[in-house]
């Protein structure tokens, strides 16, 4: 029985571009494997040699500290070479360079490309032009699959399960890739998702994704197991999504008063970086008993190790040798 299970390819895709469309068993595969790396990462000697000789390139078209560092550590702890490339989008001719860069890196026999880009769909576009595996480390407002996986791992370790939990995601849902990936993952695994924020940041179209929508935070937090706060992108202030930080905090910032509507042991999460006093009160963020924010960062490395391992497995490659990339001139 177990031998049979090893024969089939548990993750039959070359890339990890998003959570949407992944069935529960594939999501669990990442979470279960990540679980084993949590322990390894707590040892004094954290480095293995599973990916010895492999090359991983972190290709970041958008600034990032924690995601990039997390992938870098993950790659190094598995024994692979990791190279970081930061391409400031402002200094390049748009897009042209995206494809050209992809082709260049492809020619260098990279095993995994970890890509972040400020445009929705850009990572998929790039993945069509390369032979290696691509991990989406965040594309525009579309998806951020490894963030959703690390959030799920954090929740699962604290609560022992995902199914049946009620998770509130609060803040700028409209522009958030973290929210989208979390909605797909949590609903697929049987959790209920609530989205909370002003109508300008939580439009009704999100109901189509299988989430419940609330515009009153007290109401939305009622009996929630998990409260996930998103970073408020204050640079959006000029677009009239909300009138001021002060007003935003009053109605949608997380403080103990609003939190009292949730379950007594409700877990507080935040993908970071936090704006203290904007979307979350410092006191709440630092509440060791309830905040899982630091644990999320720890889980990040374990989850990314699992992603790198699964995508570099030979079996996955063989299974998908038919999925050849489009040459430069192919349909797009």
């Amino acid at each position: 029985m177990e031998d049979d299970a090893l024969d089939i390819t548990p993750y039959p895709h070359r890339h990890l571009l998003g959570i949407e469309g992944l069935p529960p068993n594939e999501i669990s595969l990442f979470l279960d494997l990540a679980e084993s790396y949590v322990e390894q990462n707590r040892q004094a000697n954290k480095t293995g040699s599973l990916l010895h000789g492999r090359t991983i390139i972190n290709l970041f078209f958008e600034d990032s500290t924690r995601t990039r560092t997390s992938f870098e550590l993950a790659g190094k702890r598995l024994g692979s070479h990791v190279i970081n490339m930061s391409v400031a989008t402002s200094s390049i001719k748009k897009g042209e360079t995206l494809i050209d860069t992809a082709m260049t890196l492809n020619a260098m026999h990279t095993d995994v490309l970890v890509v972040r880009h400020n445009q929705s769909g850009a990572v998929k576009l790039l993945s069509e032009k390369v032979n290696c595996s691509v991990i989406n480390a965040g594309d525009g407002s579309h998806e951020h699959p490894t963030q959703a996986l690390l959030d799920a791992l954090t929740i699962r370790r604290r609560r022992g399960k995902l199914a049946g939990l009620t998770v509130a995601i609060c803040g700028d849902i409209q522009h958030s890739r973290v929210a989208r990936s979390n909605i797909y993952l949590l609903t697929t695994m049987g959790a209920r998702v609530r989205l909370i924020g002003p109508r300008t940041l939580v439009p009704c179209t999100f109901a189509h994704l299988g989430a419940e929508i609330f515009h009153d935070m007290n109401e939305g937090l009622k009996d929630c197991d998990i409260v996930m706060m998103l970073r408020l992108q204050t640079e959006r202030m000029h677009s009239n999504f909300f009138p001021s930080v002060r007003e935003y905090f009053q109605y949608f910032g997380l403080d103990y008063e609003k939190l009292s509507n949730a379950k007594e042991d409700a877990l507080i999460m935040h993908p970071g970086p936090m704006n203290r006093g904007v979307e979350i009160d410092s006191e709440v963020a630092d509440d060791i008993g309830r905040s899982a924010i630091r644990e999320q960062v720890e889980m990040g490395v374990a989850v990314r190790m699992a992603c790198l391992e699964i995508l570099t497995r030979e079996s996955a490659k063989a299974q998908n040798s038919a999925e050849t990339p489009n040459p430069a001139g192919a349909k797009f």
Binding site: E20, K94, G95, E96, L98, I99, H117, Q119, S120, G121, A122, K124, L125, D139, G140, S141, H142, E143, R177, R180, P203, T205, F206, H208, L209, G329, K331, F332
Partner: protein, 437 residues
């Protein structure tokens, strides 16, 4: 038969054809006789007793013979961006698609806000001896939406009507003056109906845009602008034509305005009755159009609007974009799709799906748009130039972008199986595409 411009044309008899002339309502098997560049005679009984001596015969084999298509919305990229399309490549694409006359938008570089540009394009196109190219003049100088262009003089030099192309005349006061001033000369204003401040997105607002994380363009952007301009037509007594309407509410609003007797017309383009937003799929930039592809209910309303005549004409909205403009992340990619070579077969969907009679579909592609702009093309009429197409409405083929003659290949119908193919295109009596060409 000859297609050399210099050689004189004799008499040609088109026999055994299904004659389709939407203007006169003719749909019958018969023949058509041309002499030199003009139509001499046509009708069901013609050549019953055989083709007279000295007349060349083209046996149509029972296929459809119709006036050449008149496409009232085409973007030329010459002068300006000839790498995306030249006058020559555009007329070749048109001719292959059965379009014998088309009207180009003024968004060339330089803009068609000056008589010299109208004349330049006319001269270039005439030399090629293929599809006839007409121009719209700009409503505002430089398409900047502020100062009116010299509509009177542009009209005298050949501009058929006025539009700011794929840019909306955003300022209500400018639009008011444009309608008013154009009405002085009985000129038509063509509007790209899209409220700019609501149109910052990349695709139709809704579930799919939410999923893909793309900013949406709400349908209200189109509806509000149409509603505004209808009020301005009422106020000024002007005449407006809305290009490429795409939403169900636009059709409703225009239907009501027409019922009130206002001088309002509109067209749509094949993507809006043959595709919906799902064509965007996973960030397919060939499906990024302006206006964006809408929801299925909108598509159905567009079909109904064409059927009941609320939507007068069908135009290709041919918008060439080079590969570099489309090989980008969706939000950064250019809007637009080429359409000259797919205009007929995709429009024939309306016939094949049982929505409309063949003759009616052809009418929306020929005499109706011609009448809107005061062209005498798009009909069979004795003594007028012989611009016609022979086509097989049933022949199936697959649209492949690399087979297109258009210099830019950005077809939203790439890969789509279609029915209906042009066999021969005749312009001024000469076969310029198909047999003998």
């Amino acid at each position: 038969m000859s297609n050399k411009l210099s050689e004189p044309l004799g008499k040609v008899a088109y026999t055994n054809a299904r004659l389709l002339d939407p203007k006169s309502g003719l749909d019958a098997v018969g023949g058509l006789l041309t002499e030199g560049e003009s139509i001499q005679d046509f009708g069901p009984g013609l050549f019953r007793d055989g083709v007279p001596d000295g007349v060349a015969e083209v046996n149509c084999g029972g296929k459809c013979l119709a006036p050449g298509l008149v496409d009232i919305r085409v973007q030329l990229r010459e002068p300006g961006d000839a790498h995306q399309g030249t006058i020559a490549s555009t007329v070749r694409a048109a001719t292959k698609g059965g379009v014998t006359s088309f009207v180009c938008l003024p968004n060339t570089d330089p803009v068609i806000d000056d008589m010299s540009v109208v004349e330049f394009i006319a001269r270039r196109a005439r030399k090629l001896g293929q599809a006839k190219v007409y121009c719209y003049g700009a409503i505002t100088k430089g398409l900047e939406g502020t100062e009116l262009a010299e509509m009177g003089m542009l009209s005298e030099s050949g501009a058929l009507a006025f539009t700011d192309g794929d840019k909306v005349v955003a300022d209500a006061q400018v639009m008011r003056q444009a309608l008013s001033y154009a009405a002085t000369f009985g000129l038509l204003i063509v509007q790209h109906p899209e409220l700019e401040s609501l149109s910052g997105g990349a695709m139709n607002r809704g579930k799919l845009a939410t999923r893909l994380g793309l900013p949406g363009i709400p349908r209200e952007a189109e509806i509000i602008l149409i509603e505004r301009d209808i009020r301005l037509v009422e106020m000024t007594g002007g005449r407006v034509h809305f290009a490429h309407v795409s939403t169900s509410d636009s059709v409703d609003v225009i239907r009501r305005a027409k019922d009130k007797g206002l001088d309002i017309t509109c067209d749509t383009a094949p993507p809006y009755f043959a595709l919906n937003e799902t064509a965007v799929g996973d960030y397919r930039t060939f499906s990024k159009l302006s206006p964006p592809l809408r929801a299925e209910e909108d598509r159905l309303a567009i079909v109904a609007g064409i059927k009941d005549g609320t939507i007068d004409a069908i135009a290709s909205d041919h918008s060439p974009q080079d590969e570099e403009s489309k090989r980008l992340p969706f939000q950064q990619a250019a809007f637009g799709g080429v359409g000259l070579e797919t205009l007929l077969p995709v429009s024939l969907d309306l016939y094949h799906n049982g929505d409309m009679e063949l003759l009616d579909v052809i009418g929306r592609l020929t005499s109706v748009p011609a009448d809107l702009l005061g062209l005498t093309a798009g009909r069979f009429e004795k003594g007028t130039p012989t611009d016609l197409i022979l086509f097989d409405p049933d022949e199936g083929w697959k649209v492949e972008s690399h087979d297109l003659l258009s210099k830019s290949k950005n077809s939203p119908f790439d890969g789509r199986p279609v029915q209906g193919r042009v066999i021969r295109t005749v312009i001024d009596g000469r076969s310029v595409f198909g047999a003998d060409a």
